[in-house]
């Protein structure tokens, strides 16, 4: 097999249908970009779950009465609640935080907004049991058992808030992957179409090749490589696009959430980690589409 010959055929083919080639590259790139975006969200959610897994707590907020009168949880109903929380199975630790400590914590959290701190009164902050569970998924047991008990104002499962956040992120992921799928379909059809056009414009060459006894590989390989080269260029464009998108848009829009630690940071490393996946998918899809097209639609 003369590689230089096959290569020159590929270059000629790509040049001859330059508009189709560009369309093919762009569609592939957009499709891969969306797929990459989806994969990034998946990574983000994974990181978030790992981050929060160890920190999730259930907060049992106590009534105003208890909060005001029982500073160290020495009398009923507070001490009784503590004991029953501690003896509930699956509970790892129970920490009592009185109104004063709660207010300090509040001040710490909202350090950046002094006007909010100024407005707040310690009386608005309830005393709280911070309950850590061995398995945060089982928070509903605590919620069910302790809601409405004497001295309990409400039970907050932090996991619930997080679930809502995850839901939003998973929605973004699903949306991105769905668009990627649609776009991939368009890319697929374009690849198939480009190969057919390419084969048609070169039908004289291909006819001669068959006649003089070129093997199937020799006649088809240039078309296949054409599709794969376009796929690879598409993958490069999509990875560069993702890097730029992350640097100039994502980091700006979500910068605050990243720096405050609410959302885990996505580094360029994360983009580079998914790059090989995008390349692999691209090469596989373009080669497969090319092969199927040549088999089904192009008589070589």
């Amino acid at each position: 097999m003369r590689t230089s010959f096959v290569f020159s055929e590929v270059v000629t083919g790509l040049r001859r249908n330059v508009t189709m080639t560009i369309a093919m590259i762009l569609t592939t790139a957009i499709s891969l970009g969306l797929l990459g975006g989806g994969l990034l969200v998946v990574r983000m959610v994974d990181k978030m779950q790992a981050n929060y897994q160890g920190k999730l707590e259930v907060a049992v907020l106590l009534t105003n009465d208890v909060s005001a009168n029982d500073q160290d949880c020495s009398s009923q109903p507070c001490s009784g609640l503590r004991t029953s929380l501690q003896t509930t199975s699956g509970v790892e630790t129970v920490v009592f935080e009185n109104r004063e400590k709660g207010f300090e914590r509040f001040k710490r959290i909202f350090e950046a907004q002094p006007e909010l701190v100024k407005l707040a009164r310690p009386e608005a902050i309830p005393a709280t049991f911070r309950v850590k569970l061995e398995d945060p998924e089982r928070a509903d047991v605590i919620v069910r058992e302790f809601s409405g008990k004497a001295g309990v104002k409400s039970v907050d499962d932090q996991g619930k808030f997080l679930d809502r956040l995850f839901n939003v992120l998973n929605g973004v992921r699903d949306g991105a992957l769905f668009l990627a799928l649609l776009q991939a379909l368009a890319a697929l059809l374009l690849i198939s179409n480009t190969i057919q056009v390419s084969a048609y414009t070169r039908r004289t060459e291909v006819g001669i090749m068959r006649l003089v006894g070129a093997t199937r590989w020799y006649t088809q390989l240039p078309f296949l490589i054409e599709a794969v080269v376009a796929g690879i260029i598409g993958a490069v464009v999509s990875v560069v696009g993702l890097i730029l998108f992350k640097a100039f848009i994502l980091d700006r829009v979500l910068g605050d959430l990243f720096s405050s630690g609410i959302l885990p940071t996505l580094g360029q490393l994360d983009v580079l980690i998914i790059a090989p996946i995008l390349f692999g998918v691209s090469v596989l899809i373009s080669a497969l589409t090319g092969y199927v097209t040549l088999r089904l639609y192009v008589r070589l």
Partner: protein, 229 residues
């Protein structure tokens, strides 16, 4: 070299067979004219030799290939031992004379040093030395057909198939092309030529196989085009 045994070919779109129980044998080094009116089965005959078609019935042998039965994978091997020339030359317009000839070798994976050596030789054989760098549209019809013959012959095939090679050429030029085909025939290559050209067939006095309605109606060792025409 070429043997057809009771070959019939029926196309799906037609009820009448294109070839009907044809048995012919052609020896190595023979020069055979295949004549007959349009639709008599000449083209089907040639396409069967190239395995562009498979017979509906019967067997086809070219050299030691069992053409009708062979696997698709072996078809390129068969075609590498057959050269083809057509009425419309079928040259690549954007390639030079030398590149057109070299193309036939490149696509079957011949090494570059062979190509560099063989192409000028064959161009000299067909009388196109000095025109290697011309493009097809800069050549006359006769010269273009010479390029096509050079391309068909460059791989030294056992059989040369010519489908009305003089159909687009004036009588003088046609004579030149025939001389060239004769020269190729003298190297031992079997030549099978489908034609309508009375003058050529009558003057060459070679074997004539006449087809009519898909049947062999005449096979003369030293024939003329038409008896009583």
């Amino acid at each position: 070299m070429i043997r057809l045994e009771h070959v019939s070919k029926v196309y799906k779109t037609s009820t009448r067979p294109a070839l009907d129980d044809v048995s012919v044998e052609m020896d190595k080094g023979e020069f055979v004219f295949l004549i007959g009116p349009s639709g008599s089965g000449k083209s089907t005959f040639l396409r069967l030799l190239l395995r562009e078609e498979v017979p509906s019935k019967g067997r086809v042998y070219v050299s030691n290939f069992d053409v009708a039965k062979m696997s698709r994978r072996r078809v390129p091997r068969l075609r590498q031992s057959i050269g083809c020339v057509f009425q419309d030359f079928r040259l690549l317009a954007q390639k030079t004379v030398a590149e057109n000839v070299a193309f036939a070798l490149e696509v079957i994976g011949k090494p570059k040093n062979t190509i560099v050596k063989v192409v000028p030789e064959v161009l000299q054989l067909v009388g196109l030395e000095g025109k290697a760098d011309r493009l097809p549209h800069e050549l006359s019809g006769g010269e273009q057909q010479r390029v096509a013959i050079a391309r068909a012959f460059v791989n030294r095939p056992l059989v040369l198939i010519a489908d009305e090679p003089t159909g687009n050429l004036d009588p003088d030029t046609s004579q030149d092309i025939m001389l060239l085909l004769e020269r190729i025939n003298r190297t031992g290559t079997t030549v099978v030529m489908a034609t309508h050209d009375h003058g050529i067939v009558d003057s060459m006095r070679r074997r004539v196989v006449e087809l009519d309605n898909g049947r062999v109606v005449r096979d003369d060792a030293r024939g003329v085009y038409g008896v009583g025409r």
